[in-house]
Symmetry: C2
């Protein structure tokens, strides 16, 4: 497709640091302002390794790794949450079937390509996704350095690999190019920080920085130190449920497959399903988690009342929230990171629907980009949120909560506009981070938190010629 002239002109005029290209970015291209979000070290789970390789899935990508592999040394529990889009990409179908067939047990690895989503590719696309998973399995099976007592014996249940793809919709994968590089990515597996970071980088598309987090945690019933690592990619089509969003999380805590699925669903609801870049829900969204128990201890069962389960839930929810926030930080064209907190709703669903409606309003998002304290648009979005019964206009209040610890700036109190100090509002809107607080009524009630970014000229530039 030829590049539209006006876009090309405008693109040349944009500040260089705002430009992003559709390819996994090299180290040098991370915008200075985003460098702080990329870790230089980490604490990684035992018994997992990661690696990446260059395929050139997108023909124009001659430089950057676009194939990532994350593997467990031993069979582990696996769980995943997938897109709700009716057009599900081939890797979604294939990975869902695999996890179902194995009941989430005996999982070995996650293999991911960027550059092509393998979505809306018909039966051929399914074959490609299967080939990618089985090709990956083969590398493990044929590796003679692995012990013959390797627990990954053929149990007749087929592939043990979760497959993910992200990129353009409607094009077939260059599957031969990919399968020919599977041994390469396998040979590059390792457990250092650089290995994890290279994998996090290889799953990126229009992202401007790799999104990798790791931390340690403990469980009430054990004296072990546990570890968790996660990587994710954005950066457009981000909206529940869920987005062109991939997430891969690994922990060395021992968690049964049913417990892992319960824990993941609940944490994704509060994290990846509580962010919005543009309101579009893609065909490929997948968040997968592997738990191999390599750190020891008693397995966490699917008992939501147990102390270990609760602690794991809290750890995982907070961890996925932090991962999801990184996606918003890197929203296409984003210049702002906005927390939307909706309180005093009759139900969590009401609060979340209002927060989500504000988060996807183009008028709210362009006002934030323009640093305009246009609370009328926030209120307007609150008023048109669908299937919400607990908005009481005469009791609704809207405030900005600054991130520098200074007092809230009230914009609307109980349905009546405040005389707004525009100088202070402008100052608050200068900073990258902002919280919008919307109280729906005077009655104590449920609260939902949502994260979003602004809508900028750059968003339009990026998405006007994504396929070029």
């Amino acid at each position: 497709m030829s590049l539209a002239r006006p876009n090309a002109r405008l693109l040349r005029r944009l500040p260089l640091q705002q430009l992003r290209t559709y390819a996994a970015p090299g180290e040098g291209s991370i915008p200075p302002a985003k460098k702080k979000y990329v870790p230089t070290t980490g604490t990684y789970p035992l018994g997992f390794s990661a690696g990446s390789a260059h395929v050139g899935v997108k023909a124009s990508n001659t430089r950057f790794d676009d194939l990532a592999l994350i593997a467990s040394d031993t069979p582990c529990s696996g769980a995943a949450v997938f897109t709700t889009n009716k057009f599900q990409a081939a890797p979604v179908t294939v990975s869902r079937d695999m996890l179902k067939r194995r009941k989430g047990e005996g999982i070995r690895a996650v293999v991911v390509n960027s550059g092509c989503a393998n979505a809306v590719t018909g039966k051929g696309g399914i074959d490609d996704a299967v080939a990618m998973g089985e090709g990956m399995d083969k590398c493990f099976v044929e590796d003679e350095t692995r012990s013959p007592e390797d627990d990954f014996t053929d149990d007749g249940k087929g592939s043990r690999t979760v497959v993910m793809s992200t990129g353009v919709i409607g094009q077939r994968l260059p599957i031969q190019k990919i399968t020919s590089k599977l041994p390469t990515v396998y040979s590059r597996l390792g457990s250092t920080h650089d290995h994890w970071l290279s994998a996090a980088r290889a799953i990126c598309t229009t992202d401007t920085f790799p999104k990798l987090l790791s931390r340690s945690f403990s469980l009430p019933s054990s004296s072990e130190e546990y570890h968790i690592v996660g990587m994710t990619k954005g950066a457009g089509m981000i909206h529940p449920n869920m987005a062109t969003l991939l997430g891969i999380i690994c922990t060395d805590a021992p968690i049964t497959a049913p417990a892992l699925q319960t824990l993941l669903i609940s944490s994704v609801d509060k994290s990846f399903n509580s962010i919005s870049i543009d309101g579009d829900t893609s065909t490929n969204d997948t968040v997968a988690i592997l738990a191999n128990g390599a750190a020891g201890g008693k397995p966490i069962a699917n008992d939501t009342s147990s102390g270990d389960f609760k602690a794991m839930q809290e750890t995982l929810t907070n961890f996925t929230i932090d991962l999801a926030k990184l996606v918003v930080r890197d929203g296409e064209g984003a210049t702002k990171f906005v927390t939307i907190r909706v309180t005093n709703a009759a139900t969590y669903s009401d609060a979340k629907r209002v927060a989500s409606t504000i988060a996807r309003s183009p008028l709210v998002k362009t006002a934030l980009y323009g640093k305009d304290a246009n609370w009328g648009r926030i209120l307007c979005a609150t008023g048109y949120a669908e299937n919400v019964s607990s908005v009481i206009p005469s009791e609704t209040s809207v405030s900005f909560i600054p991130t520098d610890g200074s007092p809230e700036l009230k914009l609307l109190v109980n349905g009546e506009p405040e005389a707004v100090d525009e100088t202070r509002a402008a100052k608050i809107l200068e900073s990258e981070d902002l919280e919008i607080l919307v109280k729906l009524s005077d009655k104590q009630g449920e609260e939902a938190v949502y994260w979003t970014c602004d809508f900028s000229h750059e968003y339009v530039t990026i998405n006007g010629d994504y396929r070029t």
Copy 2:
């Protein structure tokens, strides 16, 4: 609010003809490409007059008329459809109450100000809207040139005037300034083309051209020639149900108040509630219709099976569709006019939900702006439309229908991507008008049509500093 620096810079770089200011535009500022949508003559209904005056509701507007009046010589039927936003502007509340109190009968006029929406202005705002309506009534009552047998006698039911406001939310009207100019706008009433055009211009905000349509029609039971005129304004916050959208329609056909309400609701569903600029639904949307019967004939009763009713419904629906399309033509920053036709749905509601979801997808809209035949995004939006049960992925097809009469360009057929002739796709996307056809299944079924525009850099520029 101070103008954000990057915006100011970018604004200066935009081609001059793309700039629009937040004020009713003068004749000279209509972009050359839009001139063809502004009529130079018209055929107007008998017994109606129109006029405009300058108030300066927005202090920065020192030049352009921002007060419009449309009046019937005799008491007429009136009906209106209002926003579904929970935060309803004061004029919405006041006009709704007035029409209810009068049962849609004995209506005299519609008065409209642009520059301030009188929304979220508390009790004081209600008082302002009442004062605007009653001040208008007073001009009619005190006019000694009117016959003493004037049917507009005091019937104890209060105001006979529909009040509308459009502009910024959360600021009080400068009501003294407005009421002091009501005699002026009254004195300027007239029935020439220029009078109607001046009123259509005065209701504009960020619109780049006034939206006025008129035509003649007939009814099966009568030999009379009837007339209908309509004006509307956009151009942001346009999405069902409905938008910062005002519409005023007048006809000299005789229609009872209950019939008028039924006719309006049905036609708005297929027209103003089938367009989207940005997915935002404002606090002020109102489409009102007056019918004074001045052309004679037997009144059309609220009988959907009668020939006259059916003919009037068809006339009004087609007329409101053409009016609504003008709003899309002038969508903020729009460079494209896109018709979305969704066919073979199990229900009209399913078809309309899918069409609406495609119409508001930022990814689809930026691709259209970038002239990118990214059908994957169209399909993706089809797949995440909520509460839709009749999408069958393996039977879904997507095509572009060119407006030059050349054959359709198939992009996806029964869930399988076509090898797209990108040169031809690029050519089709060069033209301003485009139809996207989405077939949801192989089963004959319901169809919905939706109109939308693209998402451009200019949309972001306009809405980043609207209040400035």
